[in-house]
């Protein structure tokens, strides 16, 4: 019987041999480029993230080996040998191949992976030391309310933590399910209305780590981010002390004072709190130290004058569907208002 596939075999084999080398290099470099980034899982800066990353690498190498091996077997099954030669491979031998490859080897590999995974899980769970740094985070559509109950600090969309300390974060939501995720520090935990979930995070090095809501929560889910800023203990305490201060009183007769008066007589007061003033709304982020934050709009815009202006004038342009209405104000009034907001650092 003619063997029409014979030529094909030699061509495919050569082809495979040629791509095997560069293919592996490509694969590995592909993966390594995925490592770094401000929101990257594989660039861990905290214990929880390191535990996840370590099990990943174990699974990656095992998975790659298994995948390439099985692929090679399949190609060999199709392109190599001949029916006559393989007649020696009896039906029983083939059935044993099924048991070995389909049962025994997978059981072993899965047992190894499961053991490694449980080890990482226990590591994550061990982060439950008594921590005196407690932060309550309450998720809203589409921003993050942040409280430090022991220090009586309230802020929004930005969390500061001391390095090398276990920080307990208590999570809940007011409306729908959100998820608190800062990849470089820890895996995500959902925030459910009516329930409280707690994780303990710990940063090993100072830095700014970006987080993002990781549970579809509505039309602006994509634009609900936050920052976790880990700093040395003294810097952290400075920040706390600063945040504990009420808003600075504007000097008399300044544009800033005028801006404050405009603020207090506009709709802003219904939603926002500025500590030390009559503005005590709780539907939107606390603005007392707005100027000290790095971003606006829940982590999506750098905090500068231009962006603040754009945000205040028409938040719907930037984040359509979020709860903040546009402000109906022009020219000098707007200037003054922005001066006031800029003064809140």
């Amino acid at each position: 019987m003619a063997r029409p596939g014979q030529q094909q075999t030699r061509k495919s084999q050569t082809f495979l041999n040629r791509i095997r080398g560069p293919g592996t290099i490509a694969l590995v470099s592909l993966v390594l480029t995925a490592c770094s980034g401000q929101q990257s899982i594989l660039d861990p800066a905290g214990k929880g993230a390191r535990d996840s990353a370590s099990i990943w690498w174990l699974m990656f190498w095992l998975g790659t080996i298994v995948f390439l091996f099985v692929l090679a077997l399949i190609l060999m099954a199709i392109f190599r040998g001949s029916r006559e030669r393989e007649a020696a491979l009896t039906q029983q031998a083939r059935q044993r191949m099924v048991i070995l490859g389909g049962v025994i080897v997978p059981v072993v590999i899965i047992a190894v992976v499961f053991a490694g995974s449980t080890r990482s899980l226990l590591g994550m769970g061990r982060l439950r030391d008594n921590s005196d740094v407690v932060i309550d985070v309450v998720a809203h559509q589409y921003w993050w309310e942040v409280h430090y109950p022991h220090d009586e600090v309230t802020t929004a969309n930005e969390i500061h933590i001391p390095v090398d300390r276990d920080v307990q974060v208590r999570l809940t939501a007011t409306d729908v399910i959100h998820s608190f995720w800062v990849p470089q520090l820890h895996g995500k935990i959902d925030m459910l209305p009516g329930k409280s979930n707690t994780i303990t995070i710990r940063a090993d090095e100072p830095g700014t780590y970006r987080g993002q809501c990781a549970q579809f929560c509505g039309v602006q889910h994509a634009n609900m981010a936050f920052l976790v800023i880990a700093s040395d203990e003294p810097d952290y305490r400075d920040w706390i002390a600063h945040q504990q201060q009420p808003a600075a009183e504007p000097s008399e007769g300044t544009l800033v004072e005028r801006g404050r008066d405009i603020y207090m007589s506009s709709a802003c007061v219904y939603c926002h709190t500025i500590d030390g003033t009559p503005s005590q709304g709780t539907l939107g982020p606390d603005l007392t130290h707005l100027g000290s934050r790095e971003t606006l709009g829940a982590g999506i815009l750098p905090n500068n004058t231009g962006n603040l202006a754009g945000w205040v004038i028409d938040p719907q342009e930037i984040k359509p569907g979020n709860a903040m209405p546009a402000v109906d104000m022009t020219g000098e009034d707007l200037q003054a208002l922005l001066e006031y907001l800029n003064s809140l650092d």
Partner: protein
């Protein structure tokens, strides 16, 4: 000679549908209904695919505003819902619906009108979903509609109600098809085809059907509860009323996880059939292989919490689900090695069906491996709800359903149409699809690692996600081109394709003994079998019986005993001994009327609840009319 002609003529007169619109509306033949399912689900597949292309354009670069967030959210919700409910399950069921009677030697399925009913319900569901999307009211709270977001307070409007309505329809259609398949497989197999002689594809359809029966009720219950919460103020999922959003997640995923294996297992059945035919050898370790399907079926019901690892449940109780989720790789491994062993040393010709099977191996195994990875709790906490998971499930779903479906299309097209699909075009389409698929979804593993969550309509620049997203977008269009080439191949081959012999692949199972295409009654003379591969003389080497008339399996039988009645042999469950003459229903308008009545109730419920009792009342009368005995039955 004259006697045989009369016999065929008698059969045709009994089984052929009326001409014209009446015949079309009352059609109950399994092949006609299956063909409708194919065409309709291909249509929905393309619509869902185009939705994905639009999304990929929006995501190709950061902060684009090609479409608004509202439209994007409707697109991704509808894409997922449509692919899962309006394409994958119906298309795979259609494969079973078409092939099962032919593979088991029966003339039709056991409840032909129920088949037709299932199709009408499915058609109405699909039209409802896509029409609402075009009207701007598509489902918009993701395909899994987590509460409280999906409650009326946070997602007012019709979108989620369209979803709950469509789900109800889809469940009915799927459950009906499952009942159909189980009863047909159990009771209408050819004499001699005991359970351990059934083709592996039939085993896979049997397991799938039982899984549907036990999984679908969970989502039906959940969607009814959601509908009630939204419309009449019940509080199942509202914490303020003592309800729990996690109840939704549990109920949904108790369905949702088996659902993906419901999609996988018939795909594995298709692969088994093609592997066996191309290797010209019976499936190695047949019993282990069919047992592995059963094992996957059972195990899949114990995994659902792995979708909820981040919800705040006690961590150590999650470990049970981690162990179970990883263990399900073992029966899958058995199946894979069974196919490798079957193919070993056989030097098959690599034609398009086998190419797609190879594509399946590559894609599904990679997806299965990332599946074991996401089963790990600490790892899952990082990649849950990111593009890594999107990559994983597209690898396993497209691997387990789309590649086998393309393979099956090329494999059985000659049987269904009497023509061969173009081989050159088939190969071009394969490579476009395979390369396009990997280019689309492999980079998503990486953007997931870089922190990109899923279900986002845009993303900020500077996080390193841009290039991977651009690659995915390009890949998506390549993949779309591949699908388009396949479509063109189908349309061209129907008209001008090469004629095919009844058994172009030299396969061994019964369907290849029927004419191409089979007449409405499938078999002139009914088969009797004594082995797993009736058309092969030797299971190990796939030598075809040289007798093209298949005299050793087809014999003139006493059916029809009652001329002008649609008869097929009824056999015993385990050993398939003849025990009765099963009379099957003929053409009827009542399946359509019943489907329309349910539509009045379900779609009407979105307008006013009073239409529900109206629809139910109409359904009652339709069902009475359906079951009312006809003249010839008295």
């Amino acid at each position: 000679m004259a006697a045989i002609t009369t016999r065929a003529e008698t059969l045709l007169a009994t089984w052929e549908a009326e001409a014209g619109i009446v015949g079309w509306l009352t059609q109950v033949n399994h092949k006609a209904i299956a063909t409708r399912y194919f065409i309709t689900s291909i249509f929905f597949f393309f619509l869902a695919g185009v939705s994905a292309l639009i999304m990929r354009v929006q995501l190709a670069q950061p902060e684009l505003s090609i479409i608004s967030p509202e439209v994007y959210n409707q697109l991704f919700s509808t894409h997922g819902t449509a692919m899962m409910f309006l394409f994958a399950i119906p298309m795979l069921e259609a494969v079973g619906m078409y092939l099962i009677p032919l593979m088991i030697g029966a003339r039709d399925m056991i409840f032909p009108r129920l088949n037709a009913f299932g199709y009408w319900v499915y058609l109405i569901a699909g039209l409802t979903v896509w029409t609402s999307l075009f009207l701007g009211n598509g489902p918009n709270a993701a395909w899994f509609n987590y509460v409280p977001l999906a409650n009326s307070e946070f997602t007012p409007g019709l979108g989620v109600d369209v979803w709950t309505t469509a789900i109800t329809f889809m469940e009915i259609a799927a459950l009906v098809a499952a009942v159909e398949m189980i009863a047909t497989i159990f009771k209408l197999r050819a004499p001699g085809m005991s359970l351990n002689r059934m083709p592996i594809l039939v085993w896979s359809m049997l397991v799938m059907s039982f899984m549907i029966i036990f999984a679908m009720p969970a989502v039906m219950l959940a969607s009814v509860m959601l509908f009630l919460d939204r419309s009449v103020g019940t509080g199942f999922f509202d914490p303020a009323m003592g309800g729990d959003p996690l109840l939704w997640q549990h109920l949904f995923w108790i369905f949702g996880h088996p659902e993906v294996y419901i999609i996988l297992i018939p795909g594995l059945g298709i692969v088994s059939a093609i592997v066996s035919a191309f290797a010209r050898r019976g499936n190695t370790a047949y019993s282990l292989l069919s047992a592995s399907f059963v094992a996957i079926g059972f195990l899949s019901f114990g995994l659902w919490v792995h979708h909820m690892y981040t919800a705040g449940l006690p961590w150590m109780s999650l470990s049970f689900f981690e162990a179970a989720s990883m263990s399900i790789a073992i029966p899958s491994g058995i199946a894979i090695f069974s196919w490798i062993a079957t193919l070993w040393g056989t030097r098959p010709q690599v034609k398009t069906p086998l190419l797609y099977v190879l594509g399946f191996f590559f894609v599904f195994i990679l997806g299965g491996i990332t599946g074991v990875m996401v089963a790990s709790i600490p790892f899952n906490h990082q990649v849950h709800d990111t593009y890594f998971v999107v990559a994983h499930f597209h690898y396993v779903l497209i691997g387990s359903a789309v590649f086998p479906l393309f393979a099956g299309l090329h494999f059985w097209f000659p049987k269904v149409s009497g023509k061969l699909l173009g081989e050159g075009m088939g190969k071009v389409a394969f490579w476009l699809t395979f390369i396009g698929f990997n280019l689309t979804f492999f980079p998503m593993h990486i953007s997931g690692f870089l922190g990109m969550p899923r279900q986002v309509y845009t993303y900020r620049a500077g996080l390193g996600w841009e290039n991977w997203n651009l690659l995915s977008t390009i890949g998506a269009f390549v993949m779309g081109a591949g699908a388009l080439v396949t479509l063109i191949n189908i349309l061209a081959s129907i008209r001008r394709g090469e004629d095919s012999v009844p058994n172009p692949w030299g396969a061994g199972t019964l369907e290849w003994a029927a004419p191409s295409p089979p007449p409405p009654y499938n078999w002139d003379e009914l088969p009797r079998v004594s082995g797993r591969y009736p058309l092969w003389v030797d299971d190990e080497h796939g030598r075809l019986d040289p007798d093209e008339d298949h005299q050793h399996i087809l014999e003139e039988d006493a059916f029809p005993q009652h001329p002008h009645r649609r008869e097929t042999p009824g056999t015993r469950l385990l050993d398939s001994r003849l025990e009765r003459s099963a009379i099957l229903a003929g053409a009827s308008i009542f399946p359509l009327l019943a489907a329309l009545s349910i539509a009045v109730a379900a779609i009407g419920s979105m307008l006013t609840l009073w239409l529900v009792p109206v629809g139910v009342g109409l359904a009652y009368f339709s069902i009475v009319g359906w079951l009312w005995p006809r003249e010839e039955e008295w």
